[in-house]
Structures are given as structure tokens and as C-alpha cells.
Assembly symmetry: C2
Homo-oligomer: 144 residues x 2
DNA sequence: ATTAATTCGGATAAAATTATCCGAATTAAT
DNA sequence: ATTAATTCGGATAATTTTATCCGAATTAAT
């Protein structure tokens, strides 16, 4: 459904959010270990998120990644997905047509409407805070 | 959402279904032209669908692909997707965890339930006949 | 100042997906 | 029989995605 990069990006963001609640900046190394992802590849993804100001990074010793506490509840999954994979997953045509709309629909256009709308709604309403809380309370997991 | 291979596979199947209604076997060349796909790559995908008995192929001059008329309304999108991309799109974990269920859910597990269920339902209830009819009546398109 | 811990960014490599090529086999028509 | 139109299947190539490597820059601590 999502690319690997996007999966890593979402998981990393949730973990950073959790740690940021605890006033702890977290290093690339810790993130990669926690979400079970390749370090260098994860670094690229975090850089992308940082450039889009979804997370913030600090260089040097004791540096790392964090999310401004007050911002955690405002960051939506859609922003993360969009920053990494783009919005084609819920805006593009299911069969890859370059133009696919009511006037010129692909054969599955109508069938897909509900699915994509449901996906879009979910991504746009889910924020990092609720996901981080699930993780903190131990009801959800980032690996295995 | 789907792989290119899967997109081609779905489009090709719809076109083959349409032609099969008209008792016409259709060649790889015609299919690729109609759905705007690379010929040789499309051939591989059609072979895969043929081996899974979703479509049938006939070798030699005047050969080509077709779908038994009575079968058209029974072939579901889910079968095509499954034959080409596998079922991970609507059964796998949204964040790529190898085990993700009620007992050990990823952070977005619950959020994704509805989306994936909607997708699964759609793929399992949509059959080739209705898609071919939309194409025949000129309300849907396979390219541009 | 020096050192150690870090992110940054560019180059490269590996793996997966997408795409092409071509000879072999099959079939219909002549 | 020969030819032309086709699918089949294996090899290869191009592209994209995923992953690794490494030197440079930055920062905190000593």
C-alpha cells in the first residue's frame, strides 16, 4: 500500500512524537533500532520530513530529532505520506490513467471512490498524538 | 496503489472480456495498443493470468486471448489483483509488520481496518462483466 | 583546542520492478 | 510443405526503489 520509505517515515514519526512528549530528543540510531529499519535509508527519510518541517533536527553531539510538543497533535498522517510518497495514493487514478475524473473515468473510477475517500479521510484525520499514545500505553507496537 | 503490472492486468482483462462478449479472440498486439502498455511486458502478465486460468490463451495464427463468456461475470477483480500482486494490499499490515493483528497491532491497525475492508469488499464484489459493460457503452475509458 | 557524537549530503551499490529482445513452438491459411 | 501470425519462455536491459558508505559540518563536553 505504502512504500517502504513511507512506512519507515510513519513509524519513525510516531516514535519521535512519543519521545518528544518525554522531552527527549532521539537519535537516528535509536529510531532505526526502535522501528527496525536500515539506518542510512531512514536518515534520508528523516531529512525529507525535516525539510518539510514535519519534524525538526538538531546537529552535533546530543543532537537528534524531535517534534515540538504543541505540534504533535496537529501533524496528520496525510502530511507524512504526502511528504514521502506524494498524494497519488488517494488522488491518482487506480488504473494509472493520467486523466481520470467524472468526465473521463477509468473502468474502476466509481468503484474506487469510496475506498480512496475513506483512505483520504483516515489519513487527514489521524494525528501523531493518538498514535503515540497507543504506543506509550503499550497497546500498539512498532516491530515484529 | 497497485503495481504497474496489476494495472495492465486489470485493464487487459476488461478489454479481453469486452471482446469475448463479441465472440472475438484478441491478440497481444491489440491489447497493448488498446490499453497503452508495453507489449512484451504485457505478455508476461497475460501469461500469468492464463496460468491461473483467469483468461485463456490460444497459440498460433489467429490465436490470442479470451475469456469464456459464461465466466466473465464470475471473475472478480480480487482474483486478478491476487494473481499479480498477491493479497498483501488488503491483507497485509499497513506499516509492514510481519505480524499485525488484534493481539499485536501496529499503531495504525484500527485506523486501517475500515479502509482495507472497504478495498477488500470492493475487489471481491466487482466482476469483469460490469466493468466491460461500462467500457462498451462508452462511459469509461482505458487510456489517456 | 581536541575529541566524540551526531546530522547532512553526495556517491555508490543492491534489489525489485518494469521493459525489451529474440528464438522456439504452435497454428491457420495458402 | 511453406509461410505468416501468433503465444511462450528465457535472457537481458533500463528504471525505480531500497539500501549502504563515507567524508564534511556541527555541536557538546572535556
Amino acid at each position: 500500500m505504502f512504500s517502504k520509505a513511507c512506512e519507515y517515515g510513519i513509524k519513525a514519526s510516531i516514535f519521535i512524537a512519543l519521545k518528544s512528549y518525554q522531552e527527549t530528543r532521539v537519535s537516528l540510531k535509536d529510531i532505526a533500532a526502535e522501528i527496525n529499519s536500515p539506518e542510512a535509508f531512514t536518515a534520508k527519510i528523516l531529512q525529507k520530513l525535516a525539510r518539510k518541517h514535519i519534524i525538526s533536527s538538531t546537529k552535533g553531539a546530543a543532537g537528534g530529532f524531535e517534534i515540538e510538543k504543541s505540534k504533535i497533535s496537529t501533524v496528520k498522517l496525510a502530511q507524512i505520506v504526502d511528504a514521502i510518497d506524494g498524494d497519488s495514493i488517494y488522488n491518482g487514478c487506480g488504473l494509472g490513467l493520467s486523466t481520470c475524473d467524472e468526465n473521463h473515468p477509468c473502468p474502476v473510477h466509481d468503484k474506487f471512490l469510496d475506498v480512496r475517500e475513506e483512505l483520504r479521510r483516515m489519513l487527514e484525520t489521524t494525528n501523531l498524538e493518538e498514535l503515540a499514545l497507543g504506543l506509550k500505553s503499550g497497546v500498539t507496537y512498532l516491530k515484529t
